[in-house]
């Protein structure tokens, strides 16, 4: 039995998306920039995909730029907003401590160019505070970039409130919505979002395609130089099959959003309840507001990579924020940002569900995780020291 519970890493391409994209491989394979009928048919499909995203997100088709994925969209959004700020002598950016590296590393790059970066605290519940954002805003703030929902712990941020504040202060607001798009309702217009990134393979679309929404009037800096594709804002022949598949997947995800969210969050709560029976363990981040499919736990006294290997042996695909899985010394910056100690963060497990999971799978995951944690604790001198009172329990 294989149980896929790593949907925040990537999802299975849906039948609908696959069916939509296949004709653009061998039948309508023209280059959308070509003049001939085959090319122009592909160009029409490209426009229709763009319109689909625009309609579903609440913006205009010309405000949609197709990229290679969420990371590229994040890079382009932040570098563009920074360039606008720089021209006006505004070189202060506000973000959060637990953004994706596509955001954090781009901000690091800007720091070297003389930008000042304020990273908001995300507290132990994994949620930014509006009053702290307001206090951080300065006259020279040119951009606020806050992720819609966190990729590791699934907590959803107060995006509408942030949007209102930024709009009132005339500051560009970007949100990395890679984990949220297709899973929670997004309405760009009413939420006052100026820029937004999303990635198709997180909502059962194909890999290698993302979207940058950028409000009309915001001049963009090119990350990829080339031809006049995407109105000159992103060079390179468009990945037509993937884009068509992405639009089909997004339409399907948004169309079924309420139904899927209700079903998946019931599975999520069943899993959280089951894993909460394990002693000296804790859910990472607030229980709500949380993505429908996200379950993230820390188990004291054991290490995450060992948990993953053992679960993999039982056919369960999961992930961890342990240092051992990243190849670096430090565990996940997200878990450290919510105040987890290194030792505890090493023992993390992320299980991310989709509407394709079943209650039976959830019960199998619960039994398997309980068994795995027991087995690894039996091997762990750290766990024994805690049980013998030689070291304190943290959770």
């Amino acid at each position: 039995m294989t149980v896929y519970a790593d949907n925040a890493a990537t999802t299975k391409t849906s039948e609908t998306a696959l069916k939509a994209l296949l004709p653009y491989m061998r039948e309508i394979y023209g280059n959308p920039s070509s003049l001939h009928t085959l090319g122009q048919t592909a160009a029409e499909a490209l426009f229709s995909a763009r319109k689909k995203f625009a309609d579903l997100l609440g913006c205009k088709p010309r405000e949609i730029i197709f990229t290679s994925g969420g990371s590229e969209a994040d890079n382009q959004a932040i570098l563009s907003a920074a360039a606008i700020g720089e021209k006006k002598g505004k070189k202060h950016i506000i973000s959060t401590a637990f953004e994706h590296h596509a955001v954090l590393h781009t901000l690091e790059k800007l720091k070297k160019r003389g930008f000042e970066i304020t990273l908001l605290d995300v507290h132990c519940d994994g949620i930014v505070r509006i009053d702290e954002l307001e206090a951080a805003i300065r006259d020279d703030t040119c951009l606020v970039t806050v992720m819609y929902a966190n990729n590791e712990i699934g907590t959803v941020q107060p995006i509408s409130e942030i949007g209102t504040i930024c709009r009132n202060r005339g500051i560009i607001f970007h949100t990395d919505a890679v984990q949220a798009a297709g899973h929670v309702h997004i309405d760009i217009a009413s939420q006052n979002i100026d820029m937004l990134s999303l990635s198709a393979h997180k909502f059962h679309g194909p890999k290698g395609v993302g979207v940058l929404y950028s409000k009309s009037g915001i001049p963009l800096v090119n990350v990829i130089e080339g031809g006049a594709q995407e109105r000159g804002r992103r060079g390179g022949t468009e990945n037509v099959p993937a884009i068509v598949g992405a639009a089909a997947a997004f339409e399907e995800a948004v169309g079924n959003l309420d139904k899927n969210a209700e079903y998946t969050s019931a599975l999520r709560d069943r899993l959280i309840k089951g894993l909460s029976r394990i002693s000296h363990s804790e859910l990472n981040g607030a229980l709500a507001p949380r993505l429908p499919g996200n379950v993230s736990f820390c188990f004291e006294g054991i290490e995450g990579e060992a948990i993953l290997l053992m679960l993999d042996g039982k056919g369960i695909c999961a992930s961890s924020g342990s240092a051992c899985t990243s190849g670096s010394l430090d565990p996940s910056h997200v878990l450290l940002a919510i105040g987890r100690k290194h030792e505890i963060a090493h023992g993390s497990l992320r299980l991310t569900l989709s509407h394709e999971n079943t209650p039976e799978e959830i019960d199998y995951i619960i039994d398997s995780v309980i068994e795995t944690v027991e087995r690894l604790r039996e091997m762990s001198p750290l766990w024994h020291d805690k049980c013998d009172g030689k070291k304190p329990f943290e959770l």
């Binding site: 290490e303 060992a306 290997l309 051992c324 100690k341 090493h346 091997m379 001198p381 750290l382 024994h384």
Partner: protein, 144 residues
């Protein structure tokens, strides 16, 4: 390609000599919780021979496999033989480890040495301090 060799997975899934020896003659613990690796080795020694050995490990798959393999390599051997086991020997016996996991094998070598040193200390046996790693500050972790 899998992350680990079949031998690593075998020792991770079915670790040899896992557990505690309550009346040990020497025991050593290396690593620390902050780095995410702690390895503890218990020795039962008679006439200079390691009669029994057990390990406990808090760590990743390769840390558990390295400790299991290391205990297999020193069980029934003389202390002198055990002290000759290097991290490279452990890696070789495991059929290789990914580069960023090599420090796990270093921990295994250091855990053996640390347990032998404890045995020497308990029995008033003299030894060259420089032959034994100073585990304060987690040498292995700095290798990453």
């Amino acid at each position: 390609m899998a992350l680990y060799t079949e031998t690593v997975m075998d020792h991770f899934t079915n670790p040899r000599n896992m557990g505690e020896i309550k009346d040990f003659d020497g025991a050593g613990e290396v690593g620390n919780a902050k780095c995410g690796d702690i390895m503890k080795i218990y020795l039962k020694i008679k006439d200079n021979v390691i009669e029994d050995v057990k390990f406990e490990t808090f760590g990743c798959g390769s840390a558990i496999a390295s400790s299991s393999m290391a205990t297999e390599m020193i069980k029934g051997r003389t202390i002198d033989d055990a002290l000759k086991v290097t991290n490279k020997d452990v890696v070789k016996a495991l059929g290789g480890l990914p580069a960023h996991k090599l420090h796990c094998s270093v921990l295994a070598e250091e855990a053996i040495k640390s347990a032998v040193r404890d045995y020497y200390d308990r029995n008033g046996i003299a030894y060259e301090k420089k032959d034994f790693p100073d585990c304060e500050g987690c040498q292995a972790c700095r290798m990453v």
